[in-house]
Amino acid sequence: MKKKIALLMIAALMISTVFSACGSNGDNAAVSEQGENQSESDTKSNEENQNAENQNADAAAVQGEPEHIVVTYMYYPYEVADLKNVQDKVNEITIPEINVEVEFMPISAVEAQTSYSLLISSGEVIDLMIIMQDIKNYTDSGQLEPLNDYITPETTPAIYARSQEFPLLVNVQDEIYGIRPIQRYYGSQPGLTLRRDYFDEISYEEKDIYSFEDLTNIFAEIKEIHPDMYPLGITGANAVGKGRTSFTFFHSIALVGSYGALMDKNSTQAVNLFTTEEYKNYLKQMAEWYDAGYILPDAATSELSLDELFSSLKSASYPMTLNPDIKDEHIGLQLDEVYIATAGITYWTMPITTKNPEAAVRFLDYVYGNAELANLIGFGIEGEHYNLINAGEKKIEFTNGDDYTTSPFYNGLNYWGDARESLTYEEVRMKEEYDSYTEAALQNQFQSYGFDFDNTNVFNKMIACQSVLDQYQVALETGSLGSKWEATYDQMVSQLETAGVQDVIDEWNIQFKAYLDAQ
């Protein structure tokens, strides 16, 4: 009898451990119920809609409880410790001004790509979500709300005004799904980042644009002085693959998918990048550099980061899009002009799990128009997290002798509102440099700037093409096959053709022509 009781008790204990795994899933588990919740908050916020027109609206006119919204706070590289304090400070401003209470949801930039989808599908309430990947990943499975109803000159004056200047609104099949933040500077420039001390060592002449010959000479001279070093630190991991091609570090082109390109800013027809003469010459050059010992022998599989390449003295340079943010101890070897071809893939979106869409958009618009709030969220509280050195140039420094690794509030990403008004840490450049860079880029606009491609018809072909590229691209573009690259190159080109690369490019051209005609 005692044994039986003991057995029963153990059995009961084990059964109860099964239920310990049931957590509380506070919000709806069935995502498809969200539609009903939305109409509830719509009717409630309609009365506040009229009061929210002017951003400096009288606080007294806004009625009702503060509307609560959840906004993702993406951080990189380290978790931002003091987020709660800054959140309270933010609410001190937003509750009286626009009657919105903000709750930040910290999420690491590294995990966001996979976490977002899981959060939405489990019904987690998120009102504003910043994403840094292709928006189609989310719109295809219906995870985002269209924003057409919310972006009007009356409800979102700040966003609307700026969207006339820059292509801020991202459309997918005629519905707005994303709003881009305004960047501190626009454009990019193909180039290599070289350590300044090596450059001074060989005392090469400084030029505006370097050619392949210049680079060969530079590498040769560096290799003579440092025989154990591989002057060009290009690796598969840092420059090639997964939709990128290292060709873009050497020439200004507009990429279509990862295999088509507009070869110059006036062209309106995309071509297969891999069959162009320029690409072939570029592969030839990489193979020559590899054989001459200027590129790491295991460039194709090396996992060293850019910092590690430099600090371990393995490389003197690496391919990096040049921009005004370059550090003082480096020099950028410009390989082509500053240009702009695409409008970037960072945007604010609204998931379908949102509870207060109207309030969320109101908050977002407020951040776009109010530089003080944007800087508070992006940089922290003045005096506590940073000290203002120069108000005119908006230069700041960390407090307590911290640097970016130890400060309790540092976020390497800046996507809050209008970054042209944002503060800058010491190492960063002055506003004029950014503005002149943007100007140069906008003068060199590719026709594809502002165009978004809808890939539904050719999705499977794109996967097939990408898998061909996955096989050959890294080895070819890092020169790792040496002088025997041509046979593999021919294989890649013919396999791309069978995979249907021309169909993808044709589809792009059709959509692009329609877009150009509509301009």
Partner: protein
């Protein structure tokens, strides 16, 4: 008379019932877990046939039939990845029977218990290591600049270094060796358990009859292992279309030039769908693998039934 006998029978059943209930209750948590984790999600197989739209939910989403399976077959790689998956699995199954049994029999012969335990642990150790660690171990052997094979074997002997990660000729051998090194321990333990269970009297009787060691193995050990071998074989057949992701992705460091011999269904799906949130296509890939695996199990079991009925699993 009838009533009496019925009463007796009922009494017997009640007695048995009382003894059995606690045991079944011990089974209950595991059963509940199995139902929740393995059986309930089965309805999700429909996701593979739909274009999942979160606004409409799983059942409201559009039915697109076999469209999600297309991407598996549309690239020229369908043949290569299927061929690689199946061939490797065939080799692994065969070696996975021969080598662990050999080691188990050998281990059984070791007299000193202490030594036997040590060998057992050492053989099992690789099984417990993560594939990422193993990939770096392999890297230290194979890499061009400082790898053991290149620097300490090939070059001193005067041969040219081999760029293993760009040259696909050696990889079937490398992957087979690495996989056997890692999985040997687990199979060995299973077979060792069976070998130990073989009655010592058989061996004594055989010795008296003058059987050599090899004969003893051939006529006593192996036949006694037959049920275990068949069970393991049928289970492995079910995984014929699965591959060990860590082995085929981590060890070759996902090097493109090796895809001809290292691409399997799992690595292909991972590379193709990474970062795309396309649940439909990912579901399609695993439904494909499960379906084929299931068919193969039924087939293998059917074949074994014909050969030796009592050894079939069901």
């Amino acid at each position: 008379m009838k009533l009496k006998s019925v009463g007796v029978n009922l009494k017997k059943k009640k007695l048995r019932w009382r003894k059995i209930i606690p045991v079944y209750m011990l089974l209950l948590p595991g059963l509940v877990y199995l139902i929740i984790n393995n059986y309930m999600p089965m309805f999700g197989i429909v996701i593979a046939f739909k274009k999942l739209n979160f606004k409409k939910g799983i059942f409201g989403s559009e039915w697109i039939g076999l469209d999600n399976f297309e991407f598996l077959f549309s690239s020229g790689n369908a043949w290569i990845m299927t061929r690689n998956t199946i061939l490797y699995n065939v080799v692994f199954i065969i070696l996975g029977i021969i080598i662990p049994i050999t080691v188990a029999i050998l281990l059984n012969e070791v007299r000193q218990k202490f030594a036997s335990r040590i060998y057992q642990t050492l053989v099992l150790l690789p099984y417990l290591m993560s594939w990422v660690v193993i990939s770096y171990l392999a890297y230290s052997f194979l890499n061009l600049e400082s790898g053991f094979i290149n620097k300490s074997i090939l070059e001193p002997l005067g041969f040219k270094s081999i760029n293993f990660y760009q040259d696909s000729t050696w990889w079937p051998l490398i992957l087979t060796v690495v996989n056997q090194w890692k999985s040997l321990g687990f199979g060995m333990i299973i077979y060792l358990a069976s070998v130990i269970g073989i009655d010592g009297e058989y061996y004594e009787a055989a010795k008296i009859d003058g059987a050599s060691k090899w004969n003893q193995i051939r006529f006593i050990t192996l036949p006694c292992l037959k049920p275990t071998i068949i069970t393991m074989f049928v289970l492995n057949m079910g995984r014929m279309f699965y591959s060990d992701f860590g082995l085929f992705y981590q060890v070759p460091k996902n090097s493109g030039m090796l895809y001809n011999v290292t691409m399997t269904i799992d690595t292909y799906v991972y590379n193709a769908l990474m970062g795309q949130n396309n649940y439909g296509m990912s579901a399609a890939a695993s439904v494909f693998q499960s379906f084929v695996g299931f068919s193969l199990i039924i087939l293998a079991n059917g074949v074994i039934r014909k050969i030796s009925r009592e050894n079939a699993m069901f």
